[in-house]
């Protein structure tokens, strides 16, 4: 979709996954700083979805259902993961965020690949 943004999104998601790993190791629950960083990443994903869908609408994007599906899936993973994570205070609950962040990185990577194939 947009090259620099997607690279940043993948790197940011993986770095945040590592940061969350430190939280898990220290047995710390997500605090405001971590949640703010997740919100920032989510904002980037919203930009990606808006730009991606705009490209599909004006004909320059990849008009497949798979492409749009990945764009939208990438939006819901972090909010759902955060909700499930905040339901409990434990290492395992915090580790849910790692699952969500790695999933986001994978989804954005797949988007880049789908776009390259098209």
């Amino acid at each position: 979709v947009i090259d620099p943004l997607q690279t940043i999104l993948i790197v940011a998601a993986l770095v945040l996954a590592l940061v969350t790993g430190v939280y898990v190791a220290l047995d710390r629950s997500p605090d405001r700083v971590l949640i703010a960083l997740l919100a920032l990443l989510e904002a980037g994903l919203v930009v990606q979805a808006v730009v991606g869908i705009a490209q599909v609408v004006d004909g320059s994007g990849d008009p497949t259902i798979t492409f749009v599906g990945y764009l939208l899936a990438a939006l819901v993973v972090l909010p759902l993961g955060l909700l499930w994570s905040l339901g409990e205070h434990s290492r395992g609950a915090t580790a849910v965020l790692i699952v969500a962040l790695v999933t986001v990185a994978f989804l954005v990577l797949r988007l880049v690949q789908i776009h390259a194939d098209a």
Binding site: T66, W84, G87, E88, S90, G92, V99
Partner: protein, 140 residues
């Protein structure tokens, strides 16, 4: 969550602690398999009916495993055992068949080549699920 047998045996939850991360992982696969199956069935159902039917079965199995481990429904532990057991048999059977005869399923499913397309996580996941169910099993 209220349970009928709570007073009888010390009951251990599958949805807390590490179980929460396991449920999240199963939920990701439920979402991925459902989406893949829906796209395949909606856009090209006639191309490879067997592979696409299998994708749909895998999607249902992941959904049921997620619900069971998250302790949704009346008998979540039985549901989780059934779904995770089916998942193990499924990934081993489909994995072996697709490695022996790659032409069998013209289009990939989650379980093709033991889940190679998903970093072999589909192969690892049922073992993690079974280990977790054993670890949290009720003690009389």
């Amino acid at each position: 969550m209220p349970t009928p047998d709570a007073g009888v045996a010390p009951r251990r939850s599958t949805a807390t602690g590490i179980g929460r991360a396991l449920v999240a992982t199963y939920a990701v696969f439920a979402l991925a398999a459902s989406a893949r199956s829906a796209v395949q069935l909606l856009t090209k159902a006639s191309e490879a009916p067997l592979a696409y039917a299998l994708s749909a079965v895998a999607a249902v199995v992941y959904i049921l495993a997620t619900l069971g481990l998250a302790e949704v429904g009346p008998r979540p532990r039985a549901l989780a055992w059934g779904a995770v057991g089916f998942e193990l048999v499924g990934v081993l059977t489909v994995g072996t068949l697709t490695v022996l005869d790659p032409e069998l399923f013209p289009d990939a499913t989650v379980w093709s080549a033991y889940g190679q397309g998903y970093g072999y996580l589909p192969l690892v996941l049922p073992f993690l699920g079974i280990a977790w169910l054993l670890r949290t099993r009720p003690r009389g």
